[in-house]
Symmetry: C5
Subunit: 323 residues, 5 copies
Amino acid sequence: MIVDSALYRDGSRVEAGGDCRSLRTQTSEPGDFVWVGLSDPSQQEIAEVADVFGLHPLAVEDAVKAHQRPKLERYEHMFFLVLKTLWYVDEQDAVETGEISIFAGHDFVVTVRHGQGNELHSARTQLESTPKVLRHGPGGVLYSIFDRVVDGYLAVADELVIDVDEIETSVFSPDRTNDSARIYTLKREIAEVRRAVMPLREPLGRFVAGTVAGVHQDAAPFFRDVADHLARVAETVDSLDGLLSTAFDAHVAQISVQQNDDMRKISAGAAIIVVPTLIAGIYGMNFEHMPELGWTYGYPFSLLLMGIVAGGLWVVFKKSGWL
Amino acid sequence: MIVDSALYRDGSRVEAGGDCRSLRTQTSEPGDFVWVGLSDPSQQEIAEVADVFGLHPLAVEDAVKAHQRPKLERYEHMFFLVLKTLWYVDEQDAVETGEISIFAGHDFVVTVRHGQGNELHSARTQLESTPKVLRHGPGGVLYSIFDRVVDGYLAVADELVIDVDEIETSVFSPDRTNDSARIYTLKREIAEVRRAVMPLREPLGRFVAGTVAGVHQDAAPFFRDVADHLARVAETVDSLDGLLSTAFDAHVAQISVQQNDDMRKISAGAAIIVVPTLIAGIYGMNFEHMPELGWTYGYPFSLLLMGIVAGGLWVVFKKSGWL
Amino acid sequence: MIVDSALYRDGSRVEAGGDCRSLRTQTSEPGDFVWVGLSDPSQQEIAEVADVFGLHPLAVEDAVKAHQRPKLERYEHMFFLVLKTLWYVDEQDAVETGEISIFAGHDFVVTVRHGQGNELHSARTQLESTPKVLRHGPGGVLYSIFDRVVDGYLAVADELVIDVDEIETSVFSPDRTNDSARIYTLKREIAEVRRAVMPLREPLGRFVAGTVAGVHQDAAPFFRDVADHLARVAETVDSLDGLLSTAFDAHVAQISVQQNDDMRKISAGAAIIVVPTLIAGIYGMNFEHMPELGWTYGYPFSLLLMGIVAGGLWVVFKKSGWL
Amino acid sequence: MIVDSALYRDGSRVEAGGDCRSLRTQTSEPGDFVWVGLSDPSQQEIAEVADVFGLHPLAVEDAVKAHQRPKLERYEHMFFLVLKTLWYVDEQDAVETGEISIFAGHDFVVTVRHGQGNELHSARTQLESTPKVLRHGPGGVLYSIFDRVVDGYLAVADELVIDVDEIETSVFSPDRTNDSARIYTLKREIAEVRRAVMPLREPLGRFVAGTVAGVHQDAAPFFRDVADHLARVAETVDSLDGLLSTAFDAHVAQISVQQNDDMRKISAGAAIIVVPTLIAGIYGMNFEHMPELGWTYGYPFSLLLMGIVAGGLWVVFKKSGWL
Amino acid sequence: MIVDSALYRDGSRVEAGGDCRSLRTQTSEPGDFVWVGLSDPSQQEIAEVADVFGLHPLAVEDAVKAHQRPKLERYEHMFFLVLKTLWYVDEQDAVETGEISIFAGHDFVVTVRHGQGNELHSARTQLESTPKVLRHGPGGVLYSIFDRVVDGYLAVADELVIDVDEIETSVFSPDRTNDSARIYTLKREIAEVRRAVMPLREPLGRFVAGTVAGVHQDAAPFFRDVADHLARVAETVDSLDGLLSTAFDAHVAQISVQQNDDMRKISAGAAIIVVPTLIAGIYGMNFEHMPELGWTYGYPFSLLLMGIVAGGLWVVFKKSGWL
């Protein structure tokens, strides 16, 4: 589906109408460029756009298929960029991923979105209100999208920090918690975030270094700003992964400690029952000469004795921390 | 065994007949090349082919012996490439490996297959129907084989993802499962996949950089596409390996938790038997003055008492989560 | 808030008065520079300063927002440096972090502090009493701040060494201690220190190499001194992290050893009760011909027998280390 | 001890007789070279040889002392190479190490062997029968020794693969095995193999790159072949080390699982004894009105009841997998 | 304290007397140099020496303060080197560290020692007896000190190997040993050795490469020899660290195995007591018709029965490896 397509001239949108082919023919002055936005395009839609802008077939195939790794590929007159978008779904405590493919030449940008996420729409809206950035042409568009996408990463990283804090609280709570499944799931999601973030560093570095043809040298500080955010996400994610590993080990240690506590509690309880049983056994012996057996209050005495012994054991175990 | 040998000219197969020696003599125009396909060749077969195309003895030795590491070696007028093929055998949940050795010069390609796998046959069939690629000569053939082989890796990686998902489900199921053997086996297979995939990255990178003599610069984007798939396999495999390690740790934690649960269950059960035993012991004492012993319903009363105590304990343990 | 602003000429403070705009206009001779110190500045304050010194908007944004990674960014006529400050709060055994952003050009330094910490004030005081360093201009100011900040790191590292020593003592003490939470917390703080320290190495390296424009080559040995301290912090922190991991493993091993000891102690205790119970059971049997039952001292004899057996078991278990 | 010394000319051994000093004087034509083989030489023997060929004193000291790391050192007119030899002793399941030091100049090779291993003798024998390689001079000798030594590594790696397979079988067998000592020993041996193999890669790489003076460029493919085998050993050894770590973890998991199984088995067994004890306790109570006590077959009935209860428990536990 | 100071000319000590200032004035011929040896110098002593030889204040500060990292710093006319010395104290099984700071220019060497260790004295003694090395001037002195210090590392590494062997024996002995504290301590010492050894590699590499001004190119093989020993220490230490980790894991596994063995032993012991208790309970039942109760030898029979059952269980458990 073609979501939006427009001609931009000197930092503002030109209401030119028509399909992308006619739009491109209208790029007459230097700095003019067309931005076509596609969303889960059909084979035919992408084919037409590819034809208009002369996109490389391999890149087009990648843009259609989705499930690509983040990457930057240079072709003769254009480059092709794949970004992963990330967002956090609160209801499921899960990280979802989408994909944006971008073709950019000196006078056009074609963006292809897979999955949900409105980074592209909001990037376009914001750009159209900041002519200063828009005047940078395709480079400005790229910066704007990068900025949105990486802001999304930061938001996800913040949510993951909260999740790790929760797990931490749970692990060290005195309650019996089984956190291993949750830690596993979170580690899995962190791995997913890492797969989106890590391969992006190298391409972004090329924008920062200003070695991508068609992107103006002046834009470098802006890309550096995005790269800095990306580095922050990467550091956070690495740090969380390490913390989760430590939390997991602590969780296992807690299980051992609890088992030890339980064992001692059980043993103390057993002693409190077994010692009176021994006393009952003694008064159940059949000796002819057992003075207590003839006592009028022998029976209550024996029960009292059991009670005192059991109580005494209870006190002893309580004091020594076994109960 | 010589599987197939043919002369290719201008993107299509020339029905020229004859053995490979005669085929080679027929390569008259620039771009002509001979493709000889061998499968588990005898010493004699390979010797003849080596003689016709002037293959380096060390490379020939490697091609015959199999069990080589993936590698790319340059000789004066040819290069020698070893690839590992991978496929997944559903019946055994196992990854199998084969090997393809390729000798390529400016006017010939000699492919040697060890083990099963029909990457070579299908590559040839498909190439013969796409003259555009075939016209690239030996470079096109190489691309086509690389593409097939790496597609095979992707398929294996997908199967491994499923296996890891299954293990994950098993580890976190409430059932008592002993997953360590399965995790071990899977880790072993992942190591095998890694041995096929990792050493291939460097040679493939040389094709992408276009520094392999005899392979046209224009082919670089195609090799880059294959390299991208290879990187995806490598990332998946690394990620799975990490997940398996985490899953294994979680499995060990689950064992501990279950042991703890069992211990508490057992202790609760023991208490339910031991307390009535104490009561029986008490009424088995031989005191002369034990009023209950003379009661008409003393016996049923004692049994009832045992039942009530046992039942009470059962309720208490049930509520506190020990049973 | 503007904390302090002054004009420096030839190594000493010029009592020139006025706001930073008027101060800057007074920089007439080469080597003159203005140092403006801000603390958690309002949007308006920073805007004015930015206007006076021509600070880059992206850097200004970073300086206002705080929570940046340590970094060094070069702009055309200035550079922008972000440092994390660290200090140890004894009451909470916790490491706290602050942030200092520094803009520096050939004739000005603007420092922005977030959070507590008086590195900037003490750096200014000390500098004003050492004209030799102050004469180096903005480079001297930078060195002085770097020196203070890294000295703060060294102090924190020393405190962490003490914390690890305490944990070590606790882990290997014969007492039952649950150190996992404390180890976890310390690992978390070490990760925080690392996030402050590690990214600083690269920018500091650039000062050491003397490749930062506007900082005099002669200052290199001084920056090398700071870099050396930073390396010491980094090494200490890495080493502590490794020790903590080992201490954690040892802690888990101690738990296992204790559980084993407990189990044997419990078993020995159980035997001491259960064997007399068997004896009582035997003398509770109803055989007609049991000579002991008729003995005058049969009952005391049986009790004595139980006592001897229990005492004997106690001695045996004591000797074999089970009790 | 001087094992063998000979003059080689144009690919074959010249029966020239005499000690090494006289042999060297006979090297008249280009390509002539002397090969002196020493085994655990005395201080005096090596001193004489060093004098004849002008060996550097530091290299000579290393060659005498043994226990060197594998290394390649260049001196003005010669180079010095240290190799570790490895072999597997079946009786002890252990890897043994020896050492070969090689001095080589344009017209001589001096080899010094420490420990057992006959790589040098067999290398000489084989070389003397392949004049083609021998004609390469000292470079050919080096290649031949390298080839032998690395073949020895491959043989050791194959044995280690078998050992790991055995451990794997043992770990996952249902038997109670204590594999940790064996895994430890094997890890230790793998570390030893690694110490022989890893430092060799860099020097061998220099031969492959053809940057070692005095070794002919044409020999590069041969050295590349050896380097390839070395890489295979390195990969195998790394892979085995990883597998052993995983196997060890699985072993620990198996211990836990077995402990759990044992605990449940024991508990079930205890229940089968304790429940009849309760029944006996009940019929041991002294109530006046217990109808069963008067029954003629009360006693067999009670025994039967105990038997049924015990049998019933046995069935229940068997079915639920506790026994 | 000034330990020794002397003027050296052409490889031998010149008995020139006087303090270091007068000694320096006597360096008249090229190759002459003064070597001043200080030990824990006072502020004043070092100040005077610094003044005589023009030492850089920052380096002097480092030399006085001690607790520096090993490093090599170049100043205009001199360089400054910090080395850690290590030795093993048998009584405490502990590694102790000292520190040597060296200032060297073309005509002087100033060595400052902190802590014990007589590397400097023995280096001077030996040098004075080998004029060949001494003739190299300050470079020769440096080599000699490096050689001593690294020999000290080798000695410490050998002691650590013995310690690890002892731990290994202890871990795998059938005795109950608690090795975790010892392994921890050893790991801590290995970390200390590593902190002395690792940072030295880079500076030593510069001497090997011959890029340190004032050190003669001819000395490179000697420094290479030292670097080789350093590499051996580094490898040994890394390898020991890995072995200790594995030994620790094995230790934990042994604890688990022992716990399992104990549990089974305890259970078997419990069964041997509990089953006779059941028999006693049976003959304690109050049925009117229990033929055994009337038998003349009923009581001994019952005891015999208990004995046989207990003995039988003992045999069964012994055979199945539970006892």
